[in-house]
Every structure is written in C-alpha cells, then in structure tokens.
C-alpha cells in the first residue's frame, strides 16, 4: 500500500475549484470578445475579481429551500454534482503523477463518476417539486444516459490502441503519435458527448432558460446554486483535461515542462467549448436525441470496428 499523496489530495480540489471559478470569468470575457463586447471588466484589473465578487454574492444570499421541496434530497443533489466531478480529477494525470494517476481502471472510474453525476441533476429536478425543474431533470437524465453510451464507445478506440484503462499508460502510449490522429473520429464523438454530458451549450436543454426557466436548478439559489454552477465549470475542465489526456498526448510536448503543456492543451479545448457557446444555437430536444442515436452511435461503433480491424491487421 503506497502512502496517500497528501499534497495532491489537498491541492487538486483547490486548484480545480479555483480554475472553475476563474473559468466563469474567462468564459464571460471570451464571450464578450467574440460578441464585440468587453464582458466583466470592472472588478479588479480587467475584471479578474468578478468571480470573487460573484462568489461573495452567492455566499451571502439567503440559503433558501422552497417549502414544497423534498428538503433532504434538495440539499443532497448539488453535493453529488460537486463530489462526482471532483472525484474524477483524482485519476487525471495532471502532471506526471496526480493522485491516483496510475489507477489501472482510471478511465472506467471517470465514466462511473460521470454516470453518478446524472443523479445530481435528476434528484435536483425531482426534489424541487416544480414543473420546470422536473422537466429539466427528465431531459438531463435522458440526455446524459444516452450520451454516456457514445462517450464510452468512442473511448473504446483509445483503450484498444493504448491497451490499458490507466490514464498514465494512455498518456505514455501517445509519446509518439497523439491519438487524435488515429482516433480522429473518436475524438469528435467524444467532444460532442462531453458537451452533452456537461450539458453545456449548445446542448444545454436541461436548463434551456427560454422554455424551462433555469431547468433543473430553477428553485436553487445561494451557494447551492453556486455548487451546480461550479460543478458545471469543473465538468468543462474535466472533459477538456480528459480530451487532452486521451487524444492530445497529455503533458507530452517539446521544450516546455509537462504541466504547462497539459494546461495549454486543456485551455485550448476549454476555449473551444466557449466558442461553441458563442457561436451555436441550441438544437431542438428531438434533434439532440436523434443526433445521438442516429449519428453518433453508428459513428462510434464504426470507430471501434475500424480500430479493431486495423489492430487485427497490424497484429497479423
């Protein structure tokens, strides 16, 4: 039994939370940039402390639970959302190590955590006892469970090529060629599924504000809302980090040290997520589900088939 790496255990959640917090500001600045605006630029230099100001505001808001809500579940839901995301980071090989970067079923662990994340949304929608929240929760459940399938299938290609579920091994396997080249199709499917998993725009139907108020978190305010909010941004970071790890060679790169490379690659993908939000309108719900089952499922199956075929041919 190896001793627990205390420093990463304490640091990783702090870093992730800080990142997610800053990301709220970064997103708004980037959206501003792409929409010919400034975004928040008043609090601190360039508006940097906007996230802090928002955090303070959320912290001091009344911690209100609707009288009609199922109180216990209502409080539990955002905690689940936060926990699952933070736990997922345990297996990401941020640098060479990470907390449990060597976990031999790391990828499965992440998929499991993401699966659990559905509960946060579904329970929030259910416990709120409000029609908008319930509809949002239902949509989220269907959407997230569906897209989990394609995500797992798309990852299968990577696992097949790397021959391991351990993320450290996968990174190591890309020291030559990044998997984005052989697994391009898988990368696209993974990104799309990642967007749907984190219910980010344009796939944010569970909280489509023009039809459902705020969807599953309509009834949430104060820091409980804040937890959903932070969990969403942490989710973005997670998916981006995962994409970096699985397809972009993790910390591998020239000259610069591995953590910097990792951060750079993750940052680009995060920026791409924000660009999607800035540029694309939201599809209809049936279009979203149609895309998943009619396009992404066959594509990811095709990817597994092709990868398998190539590997068999190589092996033979």
């Amino acid at each position: 039994m190896t001793p627990l790496p205390l420093a990463p255990i304490v640091l990783t959640p702090l870093v992730v939370l800080a990142l997610a917090t800053v990301l709220t500001w970064v997103e708004r600045r980037l959206l501003g940039l792409w929409q010919d605006r400034y975004g928040p630029n008043r609090v601190g230099p360039g508006g940097m402390f906007q996230a802090v100001a928002d955090g303070i505001k959320l912290l001091f808001k009344q911690d209100w639970v609707p009288p009609f809500a199922d109180r216990g579940v209502f409080v539990l839901a955002p905690a689940i959302g936060m926990m699952t995301v933070l736990l997922s980071f345990a297996v990401i090989p941020l640098a060479a190590g990470g907390i449990a970067g060597g976990l031999n079923v790391g990828l499965l662990f992440i998929l499991a955590m993401m699966g659990l994340g559905v509960y946060a949304v579904v329970l929030a929608g259910w416990a709120s006892d409000s029609k908008y929240a319930l509809l949002g929760g239902m949509r989220a459940a269907a959407q997230m469970i569906s897209y989990e399938v394609f995500m797992a299938l798309s990852l299968l290609g990577v696992v097949m090529v790397a021959g391991s579920f351990s993320l450290r091994d996968i990174v190591a396997a890309q020291s030559g060629l990044w998997f984005i080249i052989p697994q391009g199709l898988g990368f696209v499917v993974f990104l799309l599924a990642g967007i749907a998993e984190t219910h980010r725009l344009p796939f944010d139907l569970p909280e489509g504000e023009n039809e459902l108020g705020a969807g599953f978190h309509t009834e949430y305010s104060g820091m409980k809302f804040g937890m959903f909010f932070i969990a969403e941004y942490a989710g973005i970071v997670l998916v981006s980090a995962l994409a970096t790890t699985l397809y972009l060679g993790g910390g591998n790169g020239l000259l610069l040290p591995a953590p910097v490379w990792f951060a750079l690659k993750t940052g680009v993908i995060v920026a791409f997520f924000i660009l999607l939000r800035a540029g694309l309108p939201r599809p209809r719900y049936d279009q979203l589900m149609g895309l998943g089952w009619k396009v992404l499922l066959p594509l990811s199956l095709l990817n597994v088939l092709a990868t398998g075929t190539v590997m068999m041919l190589r092996a033979s």
């Binding site: 501003g32 792409w34 010919d36 605006r37 400034y38 660009l275 999607l276 800035a278 540029g279 694309l280």
Partner: protein, 170 residues
Amino acid sequence: MLDTLRTLLLTFLHGFHRRATVQYPEQQPYLPPRYRGRIILSRDPDGGERCVACNLCAVACPVDCISLQKTERDGRWYPDYFRINFSRCIFCGFCEEACPTYAIQLTPDFEMGEYARPNLVYEKEDLLISGTGKYPGYSFHHVAGVPIPGKDRGASEHERAPIDLHSLLP
C-alpha cells in the same frame, strides 16, 4: 455541418473586431435635447410656474406615477403639490405630450439612481427649474382668456377688450 463550422469560424473572427460597447461612466454618450430622461417643471418667460394643475399629465401617465392637487392664487392655477414617483416612471414622455402649457418636460438626464426608493419620489420643489426649458417664448396665460396679475381681461392674444354691457350700440 459545414455551416456550423463556418459559424464557429466567423464567431472566432469576431474576436478581432472593434468592440461596440461604450464604456459609460468614463465615456459619456451624446444625448439629444429631446432625450426622454428626468422630468422637470418649467417656468413662464415671466418667471411664474407654467403648470396650471390641469391634471392631463396625470391622466395620460400609463403607470399612474404623477399626482397633483390644484390650488389658486390671484386667479392663476397652480399645483399645491406635484409629485412624481420616479421608481414607477417609464419615461414614455406621454406627460410631456399631454401638457397644454409646456410645463412638464423630459430632459437628457437619466443619472438618478438612488439607494432608497423614497428618494425617487420627487415633489414640486425637486421638479421645478427656473428656466423655460425647451420652449423659450411660450406663456399659456397669454394665450388663454383668463386674466392674471399684469394681464387684464381681454388682453390675451387674439382678444378684444371686454364688452361694455351698458352700451346701447348693437
């Protein structure tokens, strides 16, 4: 599919465009004279209050945020009180359109934020300015046929001297 990518590209390219935002407190925008901002009550060229408390602004107000009471001094009508609740006002300018005496006018000033709502209730003292506002020459009492101090009956524009009832002329 290509459309989507093109959209993303175009959106990305917007990052290199000039920004449209006006950085307001540092950068003051130009407000035209007929901008519909803070409401004032103006005065006649002779310095008297223009408002004759006719209540037309109050009845024109779609949010019912104007209230006043008529009083009278020397045959001239005045508002005894004139109150506007700016926390309700929508700056539609209907009051200005309704005003028959050009008394109530909207000005190019919108910087009237307050921390306490009661401070947005303006009384006549807060509304009355000492000038004529946008309509320099107009004096309602010199058009209307009512006598006021300094202008006898029959001395308004387009009026004859009062009839002498004792005259026998037809």
